[in-house]
């Protein structure tokens, strides 16, 4: 498979990399210069560098000769069988067939330290003196050991060419992409390439399929749905030779096209609506990505843009809100909630989970867009393809700044723009960006600080104290409430487990808009208060309720006050004051850990309260959560229409604390911090004022921390992991792409951005992937599309174009298509579909002569069409279409087609296993009428009908579906409640055997078929007859 000698210089696309090249300059002849023009420049550069290197290099030494004559034969005989690319083995991750192999070493570290005989593991191993390390099993002779020792002592001269420079190392997919000449004789390019091979084999292709077969094949292929019998009749009868082309155009223009082809794509990227793994929580915002794919295909988004948006749509298409939803691609796969959130951050399990989370992103990107098995290089250099472990971790570094989480986006471009600006400002605030800090010393800002100061000083004047009539404890405990001089109330005496304070208070103010609750410290309270919890002084206000009635209005019922929002000086983590108006007793407001400070909460009303004779409030301060967490000292006041809305919320505690220092004693840093805090409050207010954004489950750097799952403000450092072990970090690795493409360096062009910005990394990779010189991208997609049309690929391994993958049956055709798609079709997938389905090869009959069957049983030469079984979704959607029940609503949230025991998360008791009952879900339910692509796809508990028919579960990338035939499928088509229900509906709609037959098989039954089916129908009913038909091979297959 590989040669150990340098390749002939005139042969093939060998890329010499300056930093690695150790070849004598004599091997760089002028003949290399006659290459495609793009590469010419690179070659000049390489030659120049080589020239420079050559000047400092020694000629072939005695050491090299010693190696070739004495050492290499020993290594080849005794070591290569387990440690070489030729053998396909690298036990313990070690290869000995190149200098890099032994210098990098395997799991145990470098195998050889030049000149250090005793310090070289290879020597220790061959000496057989270390019981832990004896290689090979049969000890070498003393003379042989001595040769190796001698070699290491001389500094281990090793003239072997680096592996990457060997031609054989570079498989077909990494050869430069050049459009081959189209063979003459056939008008359609695809047919021309195919015909060439058929002619060589002396095989005659099958005839074109009949019209009914064609329309059925094409409709299912382009839209996932069959034609109606009427459409089939009309098409069969249309004499116009261009009717086929018109049909192609019509089907490609149908919204059903995007739905069907999105399903292919979602398979490939292992999309589902749950996280997977042990808890398998729902992922309710995954679907906007699914809709993105459908829309992209329907609108024929050019492929390069489709790729770029899925990697870095947020960065490269900042003005397109939809580009954010494309990022669902990177998050489509499973995510281990327990490991990422629940397990402690400092554990090996959690750290490994982060590595594997990025591994999924790298694998998804490189399998989907490059058809490369880069993931094979996580633990060691790729065994077969020129991908190093370093390449792999460099790709991990691209995604080192993002995590999977819900990411907000706005459909409305203006809102989107505004939010984006505000979020950028908030990020700058959080990062204390130097530019921002510098901007905070302007007079305007200082003036703002002064105004805030003044407002804060006058704050108590703006609020009008309530006249408290009574305070009682609802628990009936012997709790004392004592009014203080400042109008606050101090609580003492009994402190029951749980309690609600009921306060009656009056005000003479008109137009009341808000209530203010101050929680005040007091030396008599534990920890100085303001709560009574011992020892910290905490309180948990589970709910704040208020009702109001006119003070004058005897007999008028009190009216419950509805709040529009609640704000406070501080809320602990998720325990914000909004929890006190959410109606839930299990959430609360807490000021932890800011004890001993004054706090306040402001509750604003939905509607103002205005009673000419004054208002009487009844307030309930509920402490019904954790035991003994009650307020210790509080004061109440109200705000009116005179208080402008933006002045109602209190300043955050940090800002207030800073403002307590008199301006004269404040440091510039303090002033800056105050300004920063004010700015943050302002930005937060502005963000809150925007309409609520929608959410898409995607990758993001900005999400609320939860348990061990925390956003990275800058990309996490990535190290090469020896043997893939998180406990054995090697060198630090920065972001880069693959380094094995002939015309495109793996170095990412950051376009001047900082490598510390994660978005810069993704954007650079997105551009690298879509670079016209990246031949993998174009080869990959045309092969993928070909596979989905024919049920077989030109290469049968769409995710693996490496040496272990399946080489293309028609490499010239693949390359021609790739270049045509990139240059002529400009990445239009619809153009590619049209090109493929208008070929003769696509339109052939699936039947052929015995001669063809014998000569090419696998149909690799495409003398006929592949017969294909309907996919799970095609079957399901067809039944609905035939029954007339198909609901063609486009897009929207995933449709739940099972009975979910439990809440929206499908997690009863917050911890029991997901219980999804598919069997008892009413088959007639409206939810069942949507196309299968919209179903809620549960990773670990798949729909038994679709599962039986081979729909993937989203556990792993599925570029190609398994289409094995099983008894389980027979059971599903015979006994599934939905199938049975639809058969009944189809029977009702059809009315008789002949109509049912036409509806499903799009043709007239033969007299004999009709006779037998009619007899059966008379005995057992039309529903049973319909079910018989949908079980038939004719219905279940596309000819």
């Amino acid at each position: 498979m590989h040669s150990t000698s340098p390749p002939p210089a005139s042969d093939g696309p060998v890329v010499h990399r300056a930093q690695e090249s150790v070849d004598p300059p004599g091997e760089n002849p002028a003949g290399l210069m006659n290459r495609p023009s793009i590469r010419g420049a690179a070659w000049v550069a390489a030659c120049l560098v080589l020239g420079t290197l050559a000047a400092t290099r020694l000629p072939a030494t005695e050491g090299d000769a010693f190696f070739r004559e004495q050492v290499e034969p020993l290594l080849a005989r005794h070591c290569y069988p387990c440690h070489s690319h030729d053998a396909g083995k690298m036990k313990s991750g070690l290869t000995l067939d190149s200098r890099r192999g032994w210098a990098t070493g395997g799991d145990r570290g470098p195998a050889i330290v030049p000149s250090d005989v005793d310090g070289s593991r290879l020597i220790r191993a061959v000496r057989h003196t270390d019981p832990e390390l004896r290689m090979p099993k049969e000890r070498l002779s003393d003379a042989e050991v001595a040769i190796l020792e001698d070699w290491v002592r001389r500094g281990a001269p090793d003239p072997r060419a680096p592996l990457r420079e060997r031609k054989e190392e570079v498989g077909w997919a990494l050869q430069p992409l050049v459009a081959p000449r189209i063979p003459a004789g056939t008008p359609h390019p695809i047919d021309a390439f195919l015909q060439e091979k058929l002619t060589q084999q002396g095989l005659a292709p099958a005839a074109t399929a009949d019209r009914r077969t064609l329309i059925r094949r094409l409709s299912y292929d382009l839209t996932g749905l069959p034609p109606t019998p009427e459409e089939a009749d009309a098409f069969a009868a249309d004499p116009d030779p261009h009717t086929y082309d018109r049909l192609v155009d019509r089907l490609l223009a149908s919204p059903r096209h995007g739905e069907h082809w999105a399903r292919h794509w979602l398979d490939a990227v292992h999309y589902a609506d749950t996280h997977g793994n042990d808890h398998d929580y729902a992922r309710p915002n995954a679907w906007p990505y699914r809709d993105y794919v459908i829309q992209a295909f329907n609108e024929d988004l050019p492929y390069p843009r489709f790729v770029q948006q899925q990697i870095a749509g947020d960065v490269l298409f900042p003005d397109d809100p939809r580009a954010v939803t494309a990022l669902g691609f990177l998050a489509a796969g499973p995510w281990d909630e327990t490991l990422m959130v629940g397990v402690r951050e400092d554990t090996v399990d959690h750290r490994m989970a982060q590595v594997l989370d990025r591994d999924d992103m790298v694998t998804t990107v490189m399998s989907t867009f490059q058809s490369q098995t880069v993931h094979c290089a996580r633990c060691h250099n790729h065994k077969f393809d020129p991908i190093s472990q370093r390449d792999y971790y460099a790709l991990q570094a691209v995604f080192a700044g993002v995590d999977r989480a819900d990411r907000p986006f706005d459909d409305d471009p203006a809102t989107y723009q505004r939010r984006r600006d505000l979020l950028a400002r908030r990020k700058a605030i959080e990062r204390r960006s130097p530019e921002l800090l510098a901007s905070l010393t302007t007079p305007e800002v200082l003036d703002q600080v002064a105004r805030a100061e003044e407002r804060e000083a006058r704050r108590n004047e703006l609020w009008s104290a309530l006249d408290v009539v009574s305070v009682t404890s609802a628990s009936g405990a012997d709790t004392a409430f004592v009014r203080q001089a400042d109008g606050s109330w101090l609580v003492s005496g009994a402190r029951p487990e749980r309690d609600t304070f009921i306060i009656t208070a009056r005000t003479s103010e008109r137009d009341v808009r808000a209530l203010r609750l101050e929680a005040l410290p007091d030396p008599s309270l534990p920890g100085g208060g303001p709560g009574r919890y011992d020892p910290a002084g905490n309180f948990h206000l589970t709910e704040f309720r208020a009702s109001a009635q006119p003070s004058t209005g005897e007999g008028i019922a009190a009216q419950r006050i509805e709040f529009s929002r609640a704000t406070a000086t501080h809320g602990d983590g998720g325990d914000v004051v909004a929890n006190a108006i959410d109606g839930r007793p299990d959430t609360y407001w807490s000021i932890h850990p800011r004890y001993g400070e004054p706090h306040e909460a402001v509750f604003e009303f939905k509607d103002p309260i205005d009673h000419p004779g004054g208002t009487t409030f009844v307030l309930r301060l509920e402490h019904e959560g954790k035991p003994a967490h009650q307020l210790g000292r509080f004061r109440l006041s109200c705000g009116t229409g005179r208080l402008p809305p933006h002045d109602r919320p209190p300043l955050p505690s940090e800002t207030r604390a800073l403002l307590r220092t008199p301006p004269s004693q404040r440091s510039p840093a303090d002033t800056q911090q105050i300004a920063l805090n004010l700015l943050r409050t302002e930005v937060d207010e502005a963000l809150r004022a925007l309409p609520a954004p929608r959410q898409v489950y995607a990758v993001t750097q900005d999400f609320p921390a939860q348990g061990s799952f925390k956003p990275a403000s800058t990309p996490r450092p990535i190290h090469l992991l020896i043997r893939g072990d998180v406990n054995r970090p090697g060198e630090a690795v920065g972001p880069a792409a693959l380094d094995c493409l002939p015309d495109l360096s793996g170095t990412l062009d950051l376009r001047g951005g900082s490598v510390e910005e994660e978005s810069v990394r993704r954007a650079a990779l997105a551009r690298w992937l879509t670079d016209p010189r990246n031949m993998l991208t174009w080869r990959s997609i045309v092969n993928r599309v070909w596979y989905w049309h024919f049920g077989r690929g030109l290469s049968d391994t769409p995710n693996d174009f490496g040496l272990m993958g399946s080489p293309p049956t028609h490499p010239e055709l693949l390359d021609w298509l790739a270049v045509w798609f990139r240059d002529d079709a400009r990445g239009s997938l619809k153009a590619l579909h049209r090109l493929i389905v208008t070929s003769e090869a696509y339109r052939r009959s699936s039947d052929s002569s015995a001669e063809v069957l014998e000569a090419d049983p696998e149909n690799r030469l495409l003398a006929r069409s592949h017969r294909r079984r309907l996919s799970a979704e095609q079957l399901r959607d067809s039944l609905l279409q035939a029954s007339g029940r198909l609901d063609l609503t486009l897009g929207g949230p995933a449709v739940v087609q099972f009975i979910a025991h439990g809440k929206a998360t499908f997690m009863p008791d917050g911890g029991a296993p997901p219980l999804m009952d598919y069997e008892n879900f009413p088959p007639a339910a409206r939810e069942n009428q949507r196309r299968a692509v919209y179903r809620f796809q549960f990773r670990t508990v798949p729909d038994p009908l679709l599962d039986a028919l081979g729909a993937p579960d989203g556990g792993s990338l599925t570029p190609v579906r398994s289409v094995s035939t099983t008894a389980v499928q027979a059971f599903a088509l015979l006994n599934n409640p939905f199938v049975i229900h639809e058969c009944g509906c189809i029977a009702d709609r059809a009315g008789d055997v002949r109509q049912a037959f036409r509806l499903l098989l799009l043709r007239e039954p033969s007299p004999r078929e009709l006779e037998r089916l009619t007899i059966y129908s008379q005995r057992h009913g039309l529903a049973n007859t319909v079910q018989l038909l949908i079980n038939s091979n004719e219905f279940m297959h596309l000819e």
Binding site: P857, G911, T940, H1020, L1028
Partner: protein, 471 residues
């Protein structure tokens, strides 16, 4: 993956070429993959079939089999393994050393220690071989359960039963090769992906049988409200379907796919006929039913499923997996809160039925060629979580094997003085799976399937057969 590529077929090596003949396809189409040309094993198989009892949640080795006087002596003291070793618990702060609330005694000729939580199994220790130092590289249910079922920490890989089905098929045409019996209360962690065929052909997926349910196998029967479907409508319908399909196949010669579908209906019919016999525990004698604990509420579910496992073993199922406990926070072996009550209850539901199964297999001579294994995804910590619970511990745990090819009354490996980590004879899941395949006559390095650029195996790139416990 389909269609199989020539290179893949070659890679199956000893399994021989996939039969492309019609008969071969019919039989390879699972649910029920009996092979007409059974794969010539590389060496003499000791076991024809495997019954796996899987304790879902992480059964506590230091409360069941791994007796440690140090835990009793230092109960309540701070846990300090010495040498400055870091103590890491997955979801909690490490607590104090905790002795088992159960009593310990030695049992059998071999003198194996078993706690009072398992009085029935304790009587059979002379038939078992213990792996006393199992290790898991994960301390978290999802990945650890995947590791134990599929050999990989991530989803998407085929489980052991699917590999066995792929390599050997079923012993009979009338039953599936791989059957799973989940807890009546729900599926284990990772749901159905615990029984998945992953990237192997779908026909190697585990057939799920809900033991006590009125509809034990999905799609085996039409729903009860489909009254228009009668035995006669089915029978005549399938006859007519066969005719129509045969005519269609004749009109399109040379496509084995079409013939395969024809035969899949016949296979389905055979499975349907065989199912009642497979599932009928009522025909068992009252003595047997009592022995398995079918008469007591706490043991009835697991007992019924153990009894079903024996019936399936008799009828040719190759790999039978019986789960104890379901996913989620309770009702399994994941005893974070209270070892005495939670583990006690889990042990009581499993102990008598498992012991009865072992005795029954032995008495019927089935143990000669049946391998019975008892496994879990990881163990538990020797120190407390909260007051009387224990957190996850992948450092060391216990599994045992009995039956075909096993040297009875033995043990391999030891944990440290705490039962915290392994001390000697550490056994990985890879070793464990390699041993299972070995006993079936398969070399774990040779059972491979090409997927996404790699020749995948159950044991990844690891695995040593544990010869110490083989007879």
């Amino acid at each position: 993956m389909n269609p199989p590529m020539p290179s893949m077929i070659a890679r199956r090596g000893f399994l021989g070429r996939l039969s492309t003949g019609l008969g071969g396809i019919a039989l390879a189409m699972l649910g029920s993959p009996a092979r007409t040309d059974p794969a010539p094993p590389q060496f003499r198989p000791r076991a024809k079939r495997i019954i796996q009892l899987f304790m879902n949640g992480g059964a506590s080795q230091c409360d069941l089999f791994d007796y440690k006087p140090a835990l009793i002596a230092r109960h309540g003291q701070r846990f300090d393994p010495g040498n400055g070793q870091r103590v890491e618990a997955s979801i909690s702060t490490p607590g104090a050393v905790m002795r088992s609330p159960f009593e310990w005694a030695q049992h059998g000729q071999c003198g194996r220690w078993v706690s009072s939580a398992l009085p029935h199994l304790a009587r059979h220790v002379d038939d078992m071989a213990f792996l006393m130092a199992m290790q898991s590289s994960s301390n978290v249910h999802g990945p650890a359960a995947y590791l134990q079922t599929t050999g990989f920490l991530l989803p998407g890989f085929p489980c052991a039963g699917a590999w066995v089905s792929y390599a050997l098929g079923s012993l009979s045409d009338d039953v599936p090769a791989f059957v799973v019996l989940p807890d009546a209360r729900g599926l284990p962690y990772n749901g159905r992906s615990a029984f998945t065929s992953g990237f192997l052909p779908a026909n190697h997926q585990g057939t799920v049988v809900h033991g006590g349910s009125p509809r034990p196998i999905t799609h085996l029967e039409p729903p009860p409200d489909a009254t228009h479907i009668t035995p006669a409508s089915r029978c005549e319908g399938l006859d007519l379907l066969r005719e129509l399909n045969a005519e269609h196949a004749n009109a399109h010669p040379g496509d084995s796919q079409l013939t395969a579908r024809l035969q899949s209906y016949e296979l389905a019919a055979r499975l349907q006929l065989a199912a009642p016999g497979l599932l009928d525990v009522d025909s068992e004698s009252p003595t047997t039913r009592r022995a398995y604990g079918l008469d007591q509420p706490q043991t009835a579910d697991f007992g019924r499923r153990c009894l079903l496992a024996r019936r399936m073993a008799e009828r040719g199922v190759r790999f039978i997996q019986v789960w104890s406990g379901h996913g989620g926070a309770a009702g399994n072996w994941d005893n974070h809160t209270d070892i005495p009550t939670e583990l006690g209850a889990a042990a009581r539901s499993m102990d008598q039925p498992a012991a009865a199964l072992l005795a029954d297999l032995k008495q019927r001579g089935l143990l000669e060629d049946t391998l019975l294994v008892w496994t879990t995804e990881f163990g538990r910590m020797p120190f407390s979580q909260g007051s009387t619970g224990r957190d996850h511990n992948g450092g060391t745990f216990v599994s045992w094997l009995a039956g075909a090819g096993i040297r009875p009354g033995t043990a391999h490996g030891q944990s440290d003085e705490w039962s915290w980590k392994t001390a000697s004879g550490a056994t990985t899941t890879y070793d464990f799976h390699a041993t299972l395949l070995h006993l079936l006559g398969l070399d774990h390095e040779q059972v491979t399937f090409r997927h996404s650029g790699i020749d995948r195996r159950l044991t990844d790139v690891h695995g040593q057969v544990i010869r110490e416990v083989l007879s």
